[in-house]
């Protein structure tokens, strides 16, 4: 690969590189706005049903794996720190740093999924999947089942987003290794970072609402 320093690639429809970068960021923010509403529908359902069934939700929430959930929150917050540093490395054209930070971010994302898998395994073993095999020995069975439906739907949707994010980071890491983001062409890393931070923000709300709804 040639190491000649060239200028960033300016697409034909833009006046200058700054406008191109601004457009990329705007596009991602608009997409993230749609994602806020995508998750928002589930948060809305949670709000309504929790308001209607406070004791049931509190009781159901106590059965979540709070230590694993808390650990996962720390994992994602740390991965966001790494991702922000990766974007910085991309802006500075520091290829080796960028590659390592992208792989590290992906690794923490995989770590999140591993912890999630353990959690899901435990929840299934405790018969907390709504449906024929749902078992609930306390009061407010109906509310508990609704809570657990929301738990699986919200964390499941979030987990899909994390998986997509990990895939994106791995692709970017391999492209970075080949010098794709040298010479000022860092925008893909920048906007992938925006997506990753958004996924982190969603979890930051999911954790207290799902795991700490009933004080322990």
């Amino acid at each position: 690969m040639s190491e000649v320093v060239a200028s960033p690639i300016l697409a034909q429809q833009f006046d200058d590189i700054e406008q191109q970068r601004e457009t990329a960021k705007l596009g991602m923010w608009v997409f993230l706005a749609t994602e806020v509403l995508f998750f928002g529908g589930l948060f809305l359902s949670y709000t309504v049903y929790r308001y209607l069934n406070p004791e049931g939700f509190a009781a159901a929430s106590r059965h979540t794996e709070v230590i694993l959930g808390g650990a996962n929150t720390a994992v994602l917050l740390f991965s966001s720190t790494l991702m922000a540093l990766a974007v910085r490395a991309a802006k500075l054209g520091r290829r080796r740093h960028l590659v390592r930070l992208l792989f590290a971010t992906a690794l923490f994302g995989i770590g999140f999924m591993v912890i999630k898998a353990v959690e899901y395994y435990k929840d299934i073993a405790d018969h907390l999947v709504p449906g024929a095999n749902f078992q609930w020995s306390e009061a407010n069975r109906g509310a508990a089942e609704i809570f657990w439906w929301l738990y699986w739907a919200m964390t499941g949707l979030h987990a899909i987003h994390v998986t997509i994010g990990v895939g994106i980071m791995l692709v970017l890491a391999f492209l970075a290794r080949r010098g794709h983001f040298d010479n000022g062409n860092y925008m893909a890393v920048d906007i992938a970072g925006l997506y990753w931070h958004f996924v982190d923000i969603v979890w930051v709300f999911l954790f207290p609402l799902l795991y700490l709804a009933g004080h322990r």
């Binding site: 700054e18 923010w29 706005a33 720190t81 922000a84 109906g142 954790f207 700490l212």
Partner: protein, 98 residues
């Protein structure tokens, strides 16, 4: 050309987020009655603001991006507000619970 921040900014932001997580965790084990939920949400919003300002670089970005960032949240609040007031005004919030 955008400013490039020193790594320390990101590490400090990460540390602040971890501290807020510790706070969230601790308060999860304390019974504050009705205040548990609003306080937990406030802490979550604080984390979100830190992530949006410093990790997502909204601080120092253009007004256009500020607008885009706020818009998503605004529309979420519209959805919450209108739906909850719909429920409240139909008396569905006093209907029999499960």
């Amino acid at each position: 050309m955008e400013t490039i921040h020193p790594p320390k900014l990101y590490w400090k932001n990460g540390a602040a987020l971890m501290a807020l997580l510790a706070l969230t965790w601790t308060l999860g084990y304390v019974n504050l009655g009705l205040f548990n939920l609003p306080i937990a949400l406030c802490i979550s919003f604080a984390k979100t603001i830190l992530i949006i300002l410093f990790f997502m670089h909204i601080k120092g970005s253009s007004r256009l991006l500020h607008l885009a960032a706020v818009t998503g949240l605004l529309w979420l609040f519209i959805m919450l507000l209108l739906t909850l007031s719909d429920y409240a005004s139909r008396g569905w919030f006093s209907s029999p619970k499960y």
